[in-house]
């Protein structure tokens, strides 16, 4: 028997062997590259850098973490990052609901396809293109102020500020919220809504008491993306944020790219890892992974 054929029939007869053979390559990739990289980040966060030569010094020191805790600027930056990520998430939940609900419950099949495409196109239009668009819109002589002056209102000075970041992040990740909410609304059995209205509930109360709780996993699934994507960004703060609008990502980026202090950057990046680990554990409890 040809050795390949022999191997194939061996694998075939044992289910676990076939599964293992299929999983070998992706498993090796994720363990050897991705998980190992996160491990390496942990390890190097306890290292230091030779100030003269810039080479990495292995070892175990809490110096990076002490430096992060002793300077209040790093606490402030962390709070700003998490705070904006949270407000972006809430904003996107509010903006996503009408679109998701209309798409699933109100629109006919044709209109529904149109709305779906209308959400998908901005989702996949270049990220940088959309950030750049907002930079042009919010600039002092941009589209927004032009429109305000045309209708007789004063200029707004929200370009290069935390407000700008809040608007742009909410804009960027909105489709990530619409899609899972729509998917979870779609899974609600129509009989539940009929039962609610048969029992005399008004539309709003049905929404609040039946639809909203059942769509919770969808909202949490969307929140994983809106929160995590905001938490891990540094490009948008750089392009539309102002002076003093640094995110955790900006500190990490400049420590890797400019000052070449990888251990310090790694130590600060442990924070979003912890925040997301907590977030994902709660999300799992709420059933968000089935809604992804």
């Amino acid at each position: 028997m040809h050795p390949l054929k022999a191997w194939s029939s061996f694998v075939w007869r044992r289910g676990w062997a076939a599964t293992g053979a299929l999983l070998a390559l992706p498993g090796a990739w994720f363990a050897g590259l991705y998980l190992a990289a996160i491990g390496a980040m942990f390890v190097t966060s306890f290292w230091s850098v030779d100030p003269l030569s810039g080479t990495l010094i292995p070892g175990f020191s809490l110096g990076n973490f002490q430096a992060l805790l002793s300077d209040p600027i790093y606490t402030k930056i962390a709070l700003r990052t998490v705070g904006i990520a949270a407000s972006v998430t809430v904003t996107d939940i509010l903006l996503a609901w009408p679109v998701a609900y209309a798409m699933v419950r109100l629109a006919g099949p044709r209109l529904r396809a149109v709305l779906m495409a209308a959400v998908m196109v901005p989702l996949w239009s270049s990220y940088l293109a959309r950030v750049y668009a907002w930079r042009l819109i919010l600039a002092h002589n941009g589209v927004l102020n032009w429109a305000l002056i045309e209708i007789g209102l004063p200029r707004l000075h929200i370009g290069y500020s935390n407000w700008a970041m809040w608007i742009v992040f909410s804009y960027l990740w909105l489709p990530f919220m619409i899609l899972p909410i729509a998917a979870s609304v779609e899974r609600i059995a129509p009989s539940l809504l009929e039962a609610s209205s048969d029992l005399g509930e008004t539309g709003l109360r049905t929404f609040r008491r039946v639809v909203l709780p059942l769509a919770l996993p969808g909202m949490v699934a969307g929140a994983i993306f809106t929160f995590s994507l905001t938490l891990g960004d540094y490009v948008t703060p750089m392009l539309v944020g102002g002076e003093g609008s640094d995110f955790i990502g900006n500190v990490v980026y400049s420590n890797v790219g400019v000052t070449n202090n990888i251990p310090f950057a790694a130590a600060y990046a442990v924070l979003p890892l912890g925040v997301m680990a907590g977030f994902l554990l709660i999300a799992r409890r709420l059933g968000a992974f089935d809604a992804l």
Binding site: P26, A37, A40, L106, V121, L204
Partner: protein
């Protein structure tokens, strides 16, 4: 009835919010002015020619294409294998695998970038084309995986069993039965993975050495406020480059959905 029209009003407002920036940024590509200003002063096409003739832009475009093609190819293999494995698994291990595959896009981009940068420094690997590809392939796997696993869930296992009963070995069954059934979902996933790779900037800054991908070139130019007319043109082109594969991918998924019915 009144609340329904209120909902539609809100939908309209959100759609304007979603599309106005995309439309505005496309209009700027045709602006004659050397500095972006609104209202757009004059119509010009010569920036397209100037941009096409810019060697830096060309080199960046070429690198982005090379990275996206290679990362997509690797994601197709890894994502399909992982999906086929998970389709055979019991619930507990299944959850672990699908969770790990999802991590590179569920965790903040800065974390994936920082982890890879630390890892490459730890291993003393110099940043190159291959380090960019490694990062991109990692977060593209989940895109292919999701598309393929959705297809596999709908396919009856009896087809594979029938093939085995008729004497086909595992490779034969894969090539003649499973692969044709998965092909359009792998294709749809690959198109999305290509779009994702072509546009990625946050992880790429940590895995690219001195080389520029197209998004890195755009980011640098915007930050320095240089060559903005060329940025307008490139941004317009990137929107096309990412939206067209996505539309094709949606069509593939839609066609397969209709065929299944």
């Amino acid at each position: 009835m009144r609340s329904e029209s209120l909902i539609w009003l809100a939908v309209g407002a959100v759609l304007v919010f979603l599309f106005a920036p995309v439309v505005i940024v496309i209009l700027y590509a045709f602006s004659a002015a050397p500095i972006p200003a609104w209202p757009i002063a004059g119509f010009a096409l010569h920036w397209f020619r100037d941009t096409w003739n810019d060697d830096q832009v060309r080199a960046a475009l070429l690198l982005s294409l090379e990275v996206a093609v290679m990362a997509t190819a690797m994601a197709m293999v890894l994502g399909t294998l992982a999906a086929m494995a998970v389709a055979r698994m019991q619930s507990a291990t299944k959850e672990v695998v699908s969770f790990v595959v999802l991590l590179p896009i569920a965790l903040p981009g800065i974390l994936t970038g920082m982890a890879l940068a630390a890892y490459f420094a730890y291993l003393n690997v110099n940043l190159s084309y291959w380090t960019i590809v490694a990062g991109h392939a990692t977060f593209c796997v989940v895109i292919v995986y999701n598309n393929v696993i959705a297809r596999l869930r709908r396919l009856p296992r009896s087809l594979v069993e029938a093939s085995a009963d008729l004497g086909a070995d595992a490779f034969h069954t894969f090539r003649r039965v499973q692969l044709p059934m998965m092909a359009s979902s792998i294709g749809a996933g690959a198109l999305l993975a290509f779009a994702l790779s072509f546009d990625e900037v946050i992880v790429t800054t940590f895995t690219a050495g001195a080389q520029n991908t197209l998004p890195l070139w755009i980011f640098g130019a915007i930050r320095l406020g240089q060559q903005l007319p060329e940025v307008n043109v490139v941004v317009f082109a990137v929107i096309l480059f990412t939206v067209v594969p996505v539309m094709l991918s949606q069509k593939l998924i839609g066609d397969a959905g209709r065929a299944a019915r």
